[in-house]
């Protein structure tokens, strides 16, 4: 495996790398425009963008920016670190450390990629509790549609003739067999937007929310399938938010 600096022709392969590594994690977009933007951020130089490759196959990327922070602290920010395997993470971190040593940097910060065994690379690093990320839903229907696009949920709906009406705050969103022609009333699920978001982002268990009446379901026999559906809607993996995303 070799580590070299980035070349313009690498861009399309890097987008493929991202599509592969971030396929499961909810994340902010990384298209051509955004990758180019990250590479032109303050403190990023042409020689501080590293690419790990094996036989000309790109396996990882690290974008390093060096900035001077509060109180004159010279900080190396690994704004993006993505890799297909732990050995690529290791060589990229080594390359950034060597680069930072030459630039008289005081500290280096990074959001490691989600890879089994990647923690070994960062065993002598400090884990920081940085600012808390907060979210608020403005339009629930598009969020609900995205969450329901899960394969498991599609299977869940197959064969079920009933509609489900989610009453989240003031919005009513109907899902399920909407065009099925059935005259049966929809199962009504009532909850607040905050409870809905907490379930989606894994802060509250749907079972607990139902038991504490934060989620109300019309008809006791409908409760279990609805709670199961809410469990499937939950994003089980934390959001991948790199330093470049934390603007």
């Amino acid at each position: 495996m070799i580590v070299r600096t980035y070349r313009q022709e690498d861009l399309q392969y890097l987008i493929r790398l991202y599509n592969h590594t971030l396929a499961e994690s909810p994340h902010f977009i990384r298209d051509e425009n955004f990758l180019k933007y990250f590479m032109h951020c303050q403190g990023v130089n042409e020689d501080s963008i590293f690419v790990a490759s094996v036989n000309d196959q790109i396996r990882g990327l690290a974008i390093l920016s060096i900035t001077t922070e509060e109180g004159g602290l010279k900080q190396g920010n690994i704004m993006e670190l993505q890799a297909q395997d732990v050995s690529s993470v290791h060589v990229l971190i080594q390359a950034t450390l060597n680069y930072c040593k030459g630039k008289d940097v005081d500290t280096i910060v990074v959001v490691p990629p989600r890879l089994p065994g990647a923690n070994v690379v960062f065993k002598d690093w400090l884990k920081l509790n940085t600012g808390v990320m907060m979210a608020k839903a403005l339009s629930l229907s598009s969020l609900l549609q995205a969450l329901l696009s899960n394969e498991k949920i599609r299977i869940f709906f197959v064969g079920k003739k009933k509609k489900i009406a989610f009453q989240i705050g003031d919005d009513i969103i109907k899902v399920g067999n909407i065009d099925g022609g059935t005259k049966e009333p929809a199962i009504l699920v009532i909850m607040s937007p905050q409870t809905f978001l907490k379930i989606v982002f894994g802060q509250v268990s749907p079972y607990m929310a139902y038991l504490t009446r934060r989620v109300r379901v019309r008809g006791v026999r409908n409760a279990l399938p609805i709670v199961k559906l809410l469990c499937m809607m939950k994003l089980s993996i934390p959001l991948y938010v790199s330093l470049a995303d934390r603007i």
Binding site: L126, K127, L128
Partner: protein, 276 residues
Amino acid sequence: MNKKKPQIPIKEIATRPYEPGDEAQILDFLNLCYGEWGTIQKWCARYTNYPTFNKDNVVLMEVDGEIVGHGGTHFRDFIVRKRKLYTASLTDAAVHPRYRGKGLYASLVDIRLKLARSRGACLVFTWHLKGSDPYNHNKKIGFIEVKQFPVYMKVIRPEKVIKSGLFDLLHKNQRLKETLWELGIDLFFCLGKFKFSTAELLSRVDKKLRKDRGKVEIVLDKNSLFIMANFRGMSKLKRIATLIMLILLRRMKIRFSSFKALLNLARKVVAIMESI
């Protein structure tokens, strides 16, 4: 007793989007609010160079032509289960110290939420220190905490990291800044051979005035950094408990130059603990 904070009459505050040429004034304002926010290049990299930038994305509040409020919005897609969701991120909210506690931050959030809604964003994100005023305000208006991947830090020069952390803490906590300044003693932090004073951090060095003042040294152990690293993200109670623990574990020692200095510090210790 009416606890509601006094509101500035709306007509006094003009709200407008960013216009080219505002950069220098915005920078002066952000550096005043954040202590050391950065340079014009940093602001331009964050805003005008951003792929989805539009001048409406930066909201400015003015009183008689002086900027008293700033709030940024970044629009981008968020990918969930291979579907794109249009989202907005609220960034760099700042209110002039003179106008704090008057509801300007709430207006800044409200304006940007309306902007996000009008552009079709379905989710809004923001980042705050847990327990801070913006965090509490946003929690009240329906924001929830979201789990994200952790940040890791490799410390090469611990002394510089501690100095920067203290600088940041002081400049974001006006009350603590004032309390430390009114102490009547010179407070020094020592880590190995490295030594710096709070006056240096507050950029208020005036040797003539401070000649007869007592001196207190807080000597930090190198291992204290592992405990201090997350100080900013702690609640007030946890911060106090951490400081006490550091003293008990002898990772932090306090040295006094005179009995007067000890008395001065003892007198103000409650005020420091309250504002920390």
